[in-house]
Symmetry: C2
Subunit: 312 residues, 2 copies
């Protein structure tokens, strides 16, 4: 099978950018790959650990590329797109891997030339690790990849979506299309709120005067440890997610806080029936996940994606 | 090495009770084991899957036992102790595996005969699975086991604590002693609050009108799925934990909600610096856990303990 693209440019070489590079090396998808990152240090490390062409500037990286993937934090999508706009090849695809899609589309769209196909995207895959050393080829295997196309029924654009779909499928992903507003709402509950809560509980544990940090670490197996893993995720990436999906996150968080207040009240008043009812129905979603075949030992967040040597 | 106990009685045959039975079979610790559960159905299933003696009554189970371990939900500790009090052997040890220790000590203590050594305990080990089929021998390997002895300096009691320590060490546990009030405070943040939050976010997801359940399940890899696993834990056990560790849980939950309100405010006002600061320091505890050698792929809650066939 011929590659989906002749030349692919990856801008931003963190966990996602480096994983795409490794995946293309392993499974194909582009004849040629050029990487770039805004940090001198990251570029230097990337050329050592990934062994692919690292360009000195974003413009150099995207020149002649059929497909450009933004893998930087979403907060700089506008800035990076403005920087590369003049160097993009007519007919090229500009896409991304950002965790929010409404602002990603408008930030990139504000600078993307009319003759370039802007197709925002988001792989539902990741680990809590960051940096060019964190990437690995199998990250996208059997993971969902959501594309949020901006139009439909224009042949050239539809062809570009089809090509990008083929590319991600080649890396092992299951590709879906979705409305960007809906994407941001769904991800607010399935990903953004869980991360916010994980960061928050770790903060709360830090500030407990009545409990020593050593005790928190020592007895973390009771549930807390899972939260610390999620809360080890890249702070810049997550800051940008919350700033760029404000409305959906605040709406979801408001509901979470209301529900938590109800549980708090049940605990205070010794209302075991309410606790029992809420805890019992929580099992339902778990069963749906198991029924969907999504609960293997490796499938949980960070598990299937973990490089067993990364902590060493 | 001779067994720590001639006869061991295990009351309550859920995940913990059945795991102790399997562990004693595998690693020793008692010449003879008798199990009992308040449910006819559980007793019947236990005798099939565990293959050890299951008594028809709690009194029969504890008669002549050197050590009795309560593995029921903590809410019935008083009732069960009252039931067995007349059948307990003088000089026997009465202990438990409950997740709260202050009320456990007073509930058992209110009915425990003076000539029986009451030594409350809590293994920091578990999975989200329940029932007699969920147990497995290695659950306690390298897990902390906290004893909260009620007195010190009485030779017979101290000897009993030493024997119980030897028993748990034989099953692979690392035994520590701790003040019960401190235990309940530490576990409120490392275990009870994480479970409450996990139950709560799953509830919140259920009630989102703007997002379909199928979408929540499908895209749960973004962080949510970990929470559903924790929230699949036994509802009765957790109801009793919250009702019996009310003060420490409410105190910890109050701090969590305050901290979350501060993050909410930062998101609403676009205060990226505050988000960045909080997210960055959350990495510190994770690093401490990694430094303590507690972060192996198997070490996270539910991972090292999972029976790979249990979901089938």
């Amino acid at each position: 099978m011929s590659a989906a693209f002749d030349k692919l440019a990856i801008l931003g070489i963190g966990l996602l950018g480096s994983s795409i590079a490794h995946a293309v090396k392993a499974y194909g998808g582009a004849e040629q790959v050029t990487l770039w990152d805004g940090s001198d240090d990251v570029r230097e490390r990337a050329s050592r650990v990934i062994g692919m062409d690292v360009a000195a500037s974003a413009e150099d990286a995207v020149r002649d590329a059929d497909c450009v993937i933004l893998c930087t934090p979403v907060g700089v999508f506008g800035e990076v797109t403005a920087q590369i706009a003049g160097a993009l090849k007519p007919g090229a695809i500009l896409t991304d891997v950002g965790s929010v899609k409404v602002t990603a589309a408008s930030d990139m769209g504000g600078h993307c030339p009319a003759n370039v196909h802007l197709i925002p995207g988001h792989p539902i895959a990741g680990t809590e690790k960051s940096g060019p050393e964190a990437g690995f080829a199998s990250l996208f295997q059997e993971a969902w990849h959501i594309l949020t196309p901006l139009k439909q029924g224009e042949t050239a654009y539809d062809d570009a979506v089809a090509r990008l779909t083929t590319f991600w499928q080649g890396l092992g992903a299951r590709v879906e299309t979705m409305d960007p507003v809906r994407h941001d709402r769904v991800l607010a509950i399935t990903s953004h709120l869980p991360h916010l809560i994980a960061y928050n509980i770790v903060s709360t544990a830090y500030d407990m005067e009545s409990v020593e940090q050593g005790e928190v670490v020592k007895y973390s197996a009771g549930g807390f440890r899972d939260f610390t893993r999620i809360a080890a995720s890249d702070p810049v990436m997550w800051r940008d997610v919350f700033l760029n999906n404000k409305d959906a996150v605040l709406e979801t968080l408001g509901r979470f806080s209301e529900d938590l207040a109800a549980l708090q009240r049940a605990i205070r008043w010794g209302d075991g029936d309410t606790l029992m009812k809420e805890f019992t129905r929580a099992r339902g979603i778990r069963e749906a996940i198991i029924d969907a075949g999504l609960d293997t030992a490796e499938a949980d967040f960070g598990r299937r994606h973990i490089d067993p040597n990364a902590d060493k």
